[in-house]
């Protein structure tokens, strides 16, 4: 019976024609953006709107939780301290005892921002807000956001290495042997590429899967997929922050030999 309901719907889907799929307005909306124009610049408005809402939520939690802090924590302060401890352990493990304090806020912000974006994209009923074009969703489901984050990570580890070791940072490229030089240079390009595409691909694919399932079988079938989405979203935030910390740690690492 399930198949019987599924088949005509699948046939009705203009899956064979990707052009049409983009044009479809009451079904899937892929690659459509709600453009803002700032002088000559084009902006994806829906990304900024949802990211502002989610940043607002994050800051609200932080402000409310740190308002009256006590030595014996309770309620929201407990949660925030747990997060803080989690981020500290993460950055201390990856960056090392010597430099982790400088980079903990950056790594932590990446983690919290991506986590909020991913979960916000999955949990907030954005569909209730109708935009003239495009739709609100996880800001991390847009390639611009993830590339911006990945480039920040690149800048961060270059800055970390150079500010800590000066020009000696470039010794890293010929260690342990100069044969590594081309690989390490290629790595500088693959790192942001893999970071950004991993995050973008996962979140995008998750949203896509869920919306396709919702379109086909609206009620209970997409639920497991949604839970899986929440799971991968959290994992992706963790992976991004861990890798960022690992790259920074690699850059500030001192060879003791």
């Amino acid at each position: 019976m399930l198949l019987q309901t599924l088949l005509p719907l699948a046939e009705a889907l203009p899956a064979s024609d990707p052009e049409l799929m983009v044009e479809e307005t009451n079904g899937l909306e892929i690659g459509q953006h709600f453009y803002w124009h700032l002088g000559q610049l084009d902006l994806h408005g829906q990304i900024f709107l949802s990211s502002w809402i989610l940043i607002g939520a994050l800051l609200t939690i932080v402000v409310v939780g740190t308002r009256r802090m006590e030595r014996k924590p309770g309620g929201l302060q407990n949660l925030l301290e747990f997060l803080w401890d989690y981020i500290r352990n993460l950055s201390r493990e990856q960056i090392g005892e010597a430099a982790y304090r400088d980079w903990m806020p950056f790594v932590g912000t990446l983690f919290l921002f991506i986590f909020f974006c991913n979960w916000g994209g999955a949990l907030v009923p954005w569909r209730l807000v109708r935009l003239p074009s495009g739709e609100l969703g996880a800001p991390t489901g847009d390639i611009n956001t993830t590339v911006a984050l990945a480039l920040l990570v690149s800048l961060a580890y270059f800055y970390a290495g150079l500010s800590r070791k000066g020009l000696r940072y470039f010794e890293y490229y010929v260690e342990p042997t100069p044969i590594m030089l081309p690989f390490k240079i290629v790595e500088d390009f693959t790192k942001p590429l893999s970071l950004s595409f991993r995050l973008f691909g996962n979140i995008m694919a998750d949203e896509l899967t869920v919306s396709v399932l919702v379109l086909l079988l609206p009620l209970f079938v997409p639920l497991p997929m949604m839970f899986l989405g929440l799971f991968t979203s959290a994992i992706q935030a963790l992976i991004f922050a861990t890798l960022a910390a690992y790259y920074i740690g690699e850059a500030v690492h001192e060879e003791h030999a």
Binding site: V22, F34, H37, T66, L112, N144
Partner: protein, 155 residues
């Protein structure tokens, strides 16, 4: 619904999944700003509280250890004193017992001596009385003998 949406007029770009535009740098700037804000609002204050607490716990732990050591020392001290007191008490008890024994012996000896003396006295007394009685008896028997003789003679 929202007025400023009318900003979005003009030529609408094509769009697509890989549509890079000014969103990228602005999002980067936004995240950098967020980093500074979170550092001020979250990482610094929470870090301060957590590290203060860690310091507090370490100090308390050290304090408690010192106190425990002191308690141990006091306990040892008291134990030693208790031992001493017990020994002293034992010594006092032994001395008292010795004294009692001596007194007992002395009293016993004295009592025996006085009993002996009394007996001697009594014996001497008896002797004296017996000799006195003997004298009286001898006299009496002589008188009786005289009387018997007189009566025999008279008849």
């Amino acid at each position: 619904m929202i007025n400023w949406l009318s900003l979005a007029e003009a030529p609408v770009p094509e769009g697509g999944l890989f549509d890079f535009d000014a969103t990228l740098p602005l999002m980067a700037i936004q995240v950098v700003i967020l980093t500074f804000i979170l550092n001020k609002l979250f990482f610094q204050p929470v870090g301060k509280v957590v590290e203060e607490r860690e310091g507090f716990v370490t100090t308390s732990h050290k304090d408690a250890k010192a106190r425990l050591a002191q308690v141990q020392r006091l306990e040892d001290d008291l134990k030693a004193r208790l031992q001493e007191a017990r020994q002293e008490a034992q010594a006092v008890i032994t001395a008292a017992e010795d004294e009692v024994a001596t007194l007992h012996k002395a009293a016993l000896a004295e009592a025996k001596a006085s009993a002996m003396k009394l007996r001697e006295e009594a014996r001497a007394d008896i002797k004296a009385q017996r000799s006195a009685a003997d004298v009286v008896l001898a006299e009496e028997s002589r008188r009786l003998a005289d009387l018997i003789i007189q009566r025999l003679v008279a008849t």
